[in-house]
Subunit: 413 residues, 2 copies
């Protein structure tokens, strides 16, 4: 893939086209080798196309097909493919009709869009004014698509995939599945998975780890097989084996999130949840509310940032607001105040200053349920924002573990 446009290099636009093209290709079993972003510079576009064609059978470009002088993708492709540009009468008349229909005058520049490498197939423009191009280069091919996402997506889903399927010789089906984990670093996960890694060496299954910050570490399995059913069977086998190795550090699959899993457990257990937050300041509640239909099990919460709010509203009498007692009392207090089955509490030191002589990163997470309460201390690293987000994810994970009966969750209930 070659994305063309100086605005991409300057970061004025994030190139989301390449990611979507990558997803579409992967979902249809085509491998992606390389993606390039290059400015509106003829020699660099030519060099990028040549590099991409070295390794790959097909290259998709996006952008640089517009009517202005800095839209030079056509010329670069003509040079790389050794084909001359000529005016395509069909494209010219479509552009003229489009302008007539809009009642707008056409400028000389607009005719540039009718210039097409000889021997190329035109992908007719449907929504914009830029036609796409399919340009053979020896036994390889360049697809030139407009940079506007909806025009690009439309041509990709139709002409490009059709042509690619025609050109594909084998019938391999490629599918992948992502296991979502929380609580282990990437290297520890890799160690736990090492036995399976070794067994799969040279097979049609690959494993990749994706450290995703607040989203935990993702473990992705990709299989290439002869049929859809075989792919699903293999993925099922790998998921099962990975769950044996990783235990309940796996919290979900593919689109699952910590909050969606908490939601599922709360609904299954018929429990309602309320939260009392100090250092996380509403972030735990806000994450829970991301789940559509949260009102079924989430009742609300209190952001008890000032000490007086902890005391007066939640009935905290602990001498320290960053303590086991404070976290437990906050959890009990909010369940009582809001009228929920479960109360969750966070209190700690987000920084940048120490609090009550306790170091930055000290966090207590409390939970109350069935007339009892329990709290756990975690020590987190990083800046204020990182400590707050990791405290939030840790709290969600503790609800998950507790409701699913894991020995790693709270055990008082």
């Amino acid at each position: 893939m070659v994305a063309i446009g100086t605005e991409l290099l300057l970061g004025q636009i994030v190139d989301s086209n390449s990611a979507r093209i990558g997803q579409t290709l992967a979902a249809n079993g085509f491998s992606s080798y390389l993606q390039l972003k290059v400015g509106d510079n003829h020699d660099r576009i030519v060099a990028a196309l040549r590099l991409a064609l070295e390794d790959a059978d097909a290259v998709i470009t996006s952008g640089g097909l517009g009517p202005t002088q800095d839209d030079i993708t056509r010329e670069a492709i003509a040079e790389v493919s050794g084909r001359r540009l000529h005016e395509d009468p069909g494209v010219r008349s479509v552009i003229e009709e489009l302008f007539a229909a809009r009642g707008r005058p056409m400028s000389a520049n607009n005719y540039r869009q009718a210039m097409v490498p000889e021997g190329a197939t035109v992908i007719e423009q449907r929504k914009g004014t830029a036609p796409g191009l399919i340009v053979p280069v020896g036994d390889k091919v360049i697809f030139a698509l407009p940079g506007v996402p909806y025009e690009l997506d439309d041509m990709l889903a139709n002409e490009v995939l059709t042509e690619l399927r025609l050109r594909r010789n084998d019938a391999t089906v490629i599918r992948s599945r992502v296991l979502r984990t929380w609580g282990l670093g990437e290297s520890r996960l890799a160690e736990l998975m090492a036995p399976r890694f070794d067994e799969l060496e040279g097979s049609n299954v690959t494993i990749a780890f994706l450290a995703s910050g607040i989203e935990g570490v993702k473990v992705r399995f990709t299989v290439g097989t002869a049929s859809e059913s075989e792919a699903l069977e293999l993925l099922g086998r790998e998921e099962e084996r990975a769950r044996q190795l990783l235990g309940d550090y796996v919290f979900g699959v593919d689109e699952d999130t910590l909050e969606s899993v908490v939601a599922r457990l709360a609904i299954a257990e018929h429990v309602s949840i309320a939260v009392a937050e100090s250092l996380t300041g509403g972030m735990v509640a806000s994450q829970l509310v991301r789940v559509p239909g949260a009102s079924e099990w989430f009742r609300g919460g209190v952001v008890s940032y000032a000490t007086a709010v902890k005391e007066q509203l939640l009935g905290v009498t602990a001498s320290s607001v960053v303590s086991e007692d404070a976290a437990r009392m906050m959890a009990e207090g909010v369940a009582r105040l809001i009228g929920s089955d479960i109360g969750i509490a966070t209190t700690g030191v987000a920084g940048p200053e120490m609090l009550e002589d306790q170091p930055v990163g000290t966090v207590w997470i409390g939970m109350s349920y069935r007339g009892r309460s329990e709290a756990r201390k975690v020590q987190l690293l990083g800046d204020r924002e990182r400590i707050r987000t990791y405290a939030t994810a840790t709290a969600l994970d503790l609800i998950r573990l507790t409701l699913s009966g894991s020995g790693r969750g709270f055990t008082a209930f």
Copy 2:
């Protein structure tokens, strides 16, 4: 720039690093020629690095520095630079200390991160476990940065820019300033700025617009001059002119955020704030708490997600929970309950379903202050998450406008 990771090619992660690197380089007067994304494949990483080095004086890589077997950036750079990898004792001991501090066992894989090309300079890891590398290649240089955005940004802003400036031969001083705006789209901003755009044509000042979603639209001025003082004078002049054209749609400069501006105003006005949130579910509170020292003016809040919580805790008696009355009563109720000068409330329909026959995206924002209250309706577009985040930013902006006495804010107080 070379972004490394198969997950990028598959579109499982959108490579936002390259765009941010491009912005930072542009803001500091460095040109970007080419950006590549390449999978975890040794030969392709090597080819990408070689291509990038052909044209450019420096190459920045992101990703592939982690501890697992598919993190192979170190090896590829060693090959391209013709340098052997050796274990760096300093890096090794930092990693060991980090694991000791966390009380976690270290795996053999983690030691891979201490492997460094001979002659390279190590950029010490501050937040994560991956050190960065500065590797000379002839008279050119490769900077290897981790893929995790906050680690990358930190090293880019410090070691990378410092080294790039040292290597730059000309004495032009390049400085930039970003005006932060909220409330206007990119095209409307460009229209308002058009007169200045024309006047600056061909001068040493450039203007760029960066649509940044929940962070609003940024307007960046970059100047190239002979001295620091001249640069600052020019930027001051441009800021003043832009503020004349854009009025109080400008909320701040450079590192300012809506919440940091609210904090400054609250401190200046000696007022305390509490929030009552329904559809935003804690996000307004959580944004306010991002500001260090928030306890000085932020007291806390109530996430009144369930209707019963709105009624019993906040005293809402309105017949509809998505209404002007409900928003006003929530704001009054939370100020009374928490004991703050100002109460802020959000209630609305985040979707995916309609609520009380009101369409998705209907949001009421309420404020109480000095014994009075007022509410305003906004209609937002997008999915659940977008509606919640835009409602949050709109609420913060309304506090800002009101406290700064703008006619666009609430006017009842």
